[in-house]
Amino acid sequence: MPLAQTATTVPVVVNDDLCIADKGCTVCVDVCPLDVLRIAVKDDGTKTAYMKYDECWYCMPCEADCPTDAVTVNLPYLLK
């Protein structure tokens, strides 16, 4: 039985223009208590952080600790 591909909108948004994952930064990935963030390779070959798993407590270490203010924590749609 294959698994369904149900889409969900995610609360943590990363501004690619500000994110310095390409320079090796992984602060937001490191600090997330629920470990939901990862680094992706973009089409142009550079890297950015993104929210891979929709399992967010909207607690904010990722936003607070980001050195370039690239991360914004929104409320998950189901409760906002």
Binding site: M1, P2, L3, D30, V31, C32, P33, L34, D35, R38, Y53, E55, C56, W57, Y58, C59, M60, P61, A64, D65, V73, N74, L75, P76, L78, L79, K80
Partner: protein
């Protein structure tokens, strides 16, 4: 990252501390200070920099016992009454005596506590009887301050490893089996003593939003401490005394009376009337809250719109930077403003948490569990209403006692077969080609918790819950499926949550009386001091199912007069305060 690797390692240490939130770091610091030669390992399934219930700090101490404002006798009396009499006072009394020293130590770490113009601690009254609430002006820095101390003390930190089972042998603790949350690699830790500070079972009930992680507790606190203690054979106390809190509806964070109350905010009904005299969280208060919601006078609200602008601004400043700082984002998104309207509140999902109630692994005043060498502190240990300062202080007790314990013992031997069996259990969902993902196992368990276990508790409903949990367990054990190491962590959490759900049902069925207000409101039974003035202790039986016994409440150190013991049941406002 997240690819499942096949590997296992072994680590030896003197003291293993599982959980790097609040109690764990303090236990580590105290143990290392007492015995600088000890090899102390602090392990967390997240990153100690930002792990645990206080990942974004805390707005204040809810239960500080500061000379000149409160006495250990008064605090012990208050908590005994708030916890409906079921309290071994020694642990509460020792906490009350020693927490002031911990406050001074935290102060030396750079965590500041509010002082008035005379330089005295600015303690506020929120509880029914005494004065214990102390604001923390830079409460957002707590985790960073702790982390600096851990580095300075050379504590060995192991991040992103999740402990799944404790090891025991020779009648005491022997270590723990752990799994890397990003690679599924195994780590068997042999330890002479183990301190558990794994937080609440916060993902037990399902929040009304339906979002699995929109819980009151940090959603990473999914109850591993409770499940591991259970499987190791430790006693768990009074699990039927659930945690249920009054929260901002949907946002599901604290409203927060401890900040707003002393400045004039209060909980009101739909007419803007105050209906409870005291906003301090207790089962008795939650019953009044529930009655108001159900009795046609709800919704219930946090009322601040009668306060002066500078007061509201001060409340906002505190509430929107610490503990749950996204609260400001939530209100902005809703267009709600404390100045203009009351904020709708609701009742949280159920959980286990001694930080606010009394459901926890049984410990004495040294934080010792019923297994020699195994300690528990913080939200998961059954010192009632112990909050953040209780986690720090009881964590300190655990660290000090463990440092002594290890001096006389070597590693306990254990059955290697247990490690192999646990490896098979953990990895089973990775060996299937398809099946049920952990989020569906978890959702179903937690939805059933809401349907059948939420108070008011009804025997027939709880029996149904037990049947349905068994069906889910069968599905989980035979059919759960994961695709990567991250999902495997969620699968292990789903298993923990199901264990906790089964314990919640069993414990609630065993105590055939009502106690702790809403927390254990069993509609078929009245309070029964003659038969139930006792702890209930749940352990794992020979058949693998929960078994129970009654345990005497130790003789009180601080006597409670007959006319005082129901003080927390007398909270309803009799003549209502008119709305502004």
């Amino acid at each position: 990252m997240d690819e499942i690797l096949d590997s296992s390692n072994t680590l030896e240490c003197d003291i293993l501390i599982i959980g790097g939130g609040t109690a764990g770091p303090m236990a580590a610091l105290k143990a290392k200070k007492k015995n600088p030669k000890a090899n102390v390992v602090l392990l967390d399934k997240a990153n100690v920099k930002r792990s645990g219930a206080i990942s974004m700090g805390m707005d204040g101490l809810n239960n500080s016992v500061i000379p000149g404002y409160a006495t250990p006798e008064q605090y012990t009396k208050e908590i005994t009454i708030a916890n409906d009499g079921i309290c071994d006072q020694a642990a509460v009394y020792r906490y009350a005596e020693e927490c002031y020293g911990i406050i001074q130590e935290l102060d030396s770490f750079g965590i500041r506590f509010q002082k008035d113009e005379n330089g005295e601690y600015d303690v506020k009254k929120v509880h029914h009887i005494g004065t214990y609430v102390l604001p923390m002006p830079n409460g957002d820095t707590v985790k960073k301050a702790l982390y600096r101390q851990l580095r300075k003390a050379r504590i060995n930190i192991v991040n992103r490893y999740m402990a799944t089972r404790l090891l025991t042998g020779e009648g005491r603790v022997a270590g723990a089996i752990c799994v890397n949350t990003r690679t599924a690699e195994f780590l068997t830790v042999k330890a002479k003593a183990v301190i558990m500070g794994l937080g609440a079972a916060g993902r037990l009930g399902l929040p009304t939003s339906g979002y699995l992680y929109g819980t009151y507790e940090n959603a990473t606190n999914s109850g591993e401490g409770y499940a591991m203690a259970y499987h190791a054979g430790a006693g768990l106390a009074n699990l039927e005394c659930y945690q249920i809190n009054p929260l901002i509806k949907d946002y599901n964070g604290p409203a927060c009376a401890y900040v707003a109350g002393p400045l004039g905010g209060y909980t009101a009904n739909a007419k803007g009337e105050r209906f409870i005299e005291c906003d301090y969280w207790s089962g008795q208060m939650m019953q009044e809250f529930y009655d108001e919601l159900q009795g046609g006078k709800g919704p219930v609200y946090l009322k601040l719109n009668h306060l002066a602008e500078e007061t509201v601004a001060e409340i906002e400043r505190v509430l929107h930077i610490v503990e749950r700082p996204t609260r400001g984002h939530f209100h902005a998104g809703r267009g709600t403003d404390y100045r203009k309207q009351m904020i709708e509140m609701h009742i949280s999902e159920i959980g286990f948490c001694s930080g606010h109630s009394a459901s926890g692994v049984f410990v004495d005043e040294h934080a010792r569990t019923t297994i020699p060498g195994l300690y528990a502190a913080g939200d998961m240990a059954n010192v009632p209403h112990n909050y953040m300062l209780g986690a720090f202080t009881n964590g300190a007790f655990a660290g000090l006692d463990a440092a002594e314990f290890i001096e006389d013992v070597d590693f306990a031997s254990f059955d290697e077969g247990e490690v192999i069996a646990e490896r098979d259990r953990v990895l089973a969902p990775t060996k299937r080609d398809d099946g049920i993902p952990p989020n569906q196992i978890e959702y179903k368990t937690r939805r059933l918790v809401n349907d059948y276990l939420q108070p008011p508790k009804v025997t027939a409903k709880m029996e149904l819950a037990q049947q349905r949990f068994e069906e889910v367990r069968e599905d989980m054990e035979q059919g759960m499926y994961v695709r990567d190491a991250h999902e495997l962590m969620r699968a292990l959490e789903a298993s923990t949550i199901l264990d906790c759900a089964e314990m919640a049902a069993a414990a609630s069925m065993y105590r055939t009386e009502s106690r702790w207000g809403l927390y254990h409101n069993r509609v078929e039974y009245e309070r029964d001091d003659e038969n139930w003035f006792c702890h209930t202790i749940l352990t794992k039986g020979a058949d693998g199912k929960p078994t129970h016994k009654k345990q005497e409440v130790k003789p009180y150190i601080v006597e409670i007069e007959d006319d005082e013991k129901d003080a927390y049941y007398k909270q309803r406002v009799t003549s209502t305060v008119a709305a502004e």
